[in-house]
Symmetry: C2
Subunit: 344 residues, 2 copies
Amino acid sequence: MKRKITLKHIARELDVSISTVSKALKNSEEIGQDTKEKIQAFARLYNYRPNNIAISLKNKKTKNIGVIIPDIVHHFFTTVFRGIEQYANAKGYNVIVCVSDESFDKEVINMEMLANGSIDGFIMALAGETQLKNDYNHLKEVTEQGIPLVLFDRVTDEIHCDKVIINDEEAAYLAVKKLIASGRKKIALVTTEGYLNVSAKRTEGYYRALREHGLEVKPDLVLELPYQKEDDKKSEAFFKNRSMDAVLCVNEIFAVKSMGIVQRLGKRVPEDIAFVGFTDGILSRLSTPTLTSVDQHGELMGETAARMLIEKIENDHDQEEEESYETQIIRATLVERESTLGQV
Amino acid sequence: MKRKITLKHIARELDVSISTVSKALKNSEEIGQDTKEKIQAFARLYNYRPNNIAISLKNKKTKNIGVIIPDIVHHFFTTVFRGIEQYANAKGYNVIVCVSDESFDKEVINMEMLANGSIDGFIMALAGETQLKNDYNHLKEVTEQGIPLVLFDRVTDEIHCDKVIINDEEAAYLAVKKLIASGRKKIALVTTEGYLNVSAKRTEGYYRALREHGLEVKPDLVLELPYQKEDDKKSEAFFKNRSMDAVLCVNEIFAVKSMGIVQRLGKRVPEDIAFVGFTDGILSRLSTPTLTSVDQHGELMGETAARMLIEKIENDHDQEEEESYETQIIRATLVERESTLGQV
DNA sequence: GCCGCTTACGAAAACGGTTTCGTGTTAATA
DNA sequence: TATTAACACGAAACCGTTTTCGTAAGCGGC
């Protein structure tokens, strides 16, 4: 087992000082040509690589960014992560991921762990529990220490920092508008229970579209489901006892499940009921019928977040209280497929 | 902006030495009770946290583990990652993820970046290109440096290290056996093109099951698809021109797509054709009909890999050439759903 | 032979901790 | 009162780099 070689080893072996080795390997003008060649050859021979940790300590830069997301087994977050990872990697950064699992405590613990020097900045989407508690002290502490932070998707107004979001309200509005334009009149909504503000935004868009087109807003056409638990009986009862000709769902899982349920109830999609989901993932592409879905452009979101973060990190030298934060809005787009085909 | 406080600051402020502060914060017996209390109070007041980087440098332990996977937007890898992350986090480790994107070069670059002190050990699944090239020098270098490595799922015999795999051959064998037992006789296989050895193993199991049950092995009932690109025409031609009563697919995407195709061709699933997939993910649960699938227990795999790695990391002190490596086999299980319902 | 300049390198501090060892002070003991 | 052990703390090395600054050697010019 050949252990990692250090500057000190090289220095001792070639009978020069550590500083000389360091400079020689950086091809410094200070060092004589022959000495440089000797040292470089030796370093190459023994495959010398500088120790990242030591460099981090010296520079006070880790070239790591911390990503904290509520869930990784979830298509949207996964694509965002991919965007982050790609951009970060291209810029020479590594990514440390922590999963909060929607838990406030885990979010706090993970942030504290990473904030003590492990990373140069954070990218995160808030845990559901955090949004529910409305407690953002852990974020405040981090930003007060001068650690750059970018929030995406699940954001809050309480914290001043860069943000990347999609136009949730408008996207839902446009989706419903499209349904109305194709002749649908009784449009239902399947959303999550309360606390997630992205769902709330989408719900607002749904209401606005109905109002602006003179359609009655019927609360009993709105189904609220628990966020990640299944509640098939509730859904079945909902679809069995109501009449509707279209459904907007705040994610693709709800949409595909709902389609399955109404199909089993003997209704045809899209002929009897049209469906639109959010999160244009693999489910949307492979369901039968294929699902019309709002593409949130997760990868672009991730890339944007990473770009904003790295920008902040690398400009930190002359920041000194300028404090200007930006909110980037990614425009969602509707991907039309079979589930909304045809005019009624 | 309040900067992070260090031992030096505390020492200067309280007019004691750095060593005293360090010891006091560890509640060392060496330090007098009142001094300790004073220092601890001060540290608490200013929210002192030791700098992870400095500690890493001193201990030569980073408490980070590096995970390199071919793809993150892929249900199986995502669940494995989740298992890793959970276990690692519980043990106080953070996880740095790099995505190789099936590229040999990216895999090499990522490993080299992380191997220079950033992590205490690796968990990885080989990139497709790496398996194709059959070049594992980057892995050899890492293990020769004494960095613990655990391979999962996509492994190689060329490297001696801990491994976690599933019984791919047997799982496919059992799945096909079950199809045969339910009366299916003309069983097709949808697999990936050549180089992925997990697909190869599954293919072997498929063949063995046919042979052992006296069924003819027909090469033209085997469809090879490119790994991640779509080739719908090829699939359609395959299913249109052949007669079969069951299909084994090496992943759930192939399975759900294939089901869609045969359904559009007017065949019923499972009445006319039964389907079994690999990777029991969200697609299997939500497709119509729901898909019988081989659950690879990704989370358990991840947890197992993380356990093995951390064990090696933390026992490194007395290792000195004992070099015993283990291969854990996770037993896959068949989750039966609608797509294989009924006896023919 | 002296001055000053360039060249080529080394010493040392610094990053932020941990840890070993040494030492001054006090109190107990002979 | 002299000896010694316990106590409480500080100095310094160390982890592996980078970087500033100092300086010895060599050389040209006078």
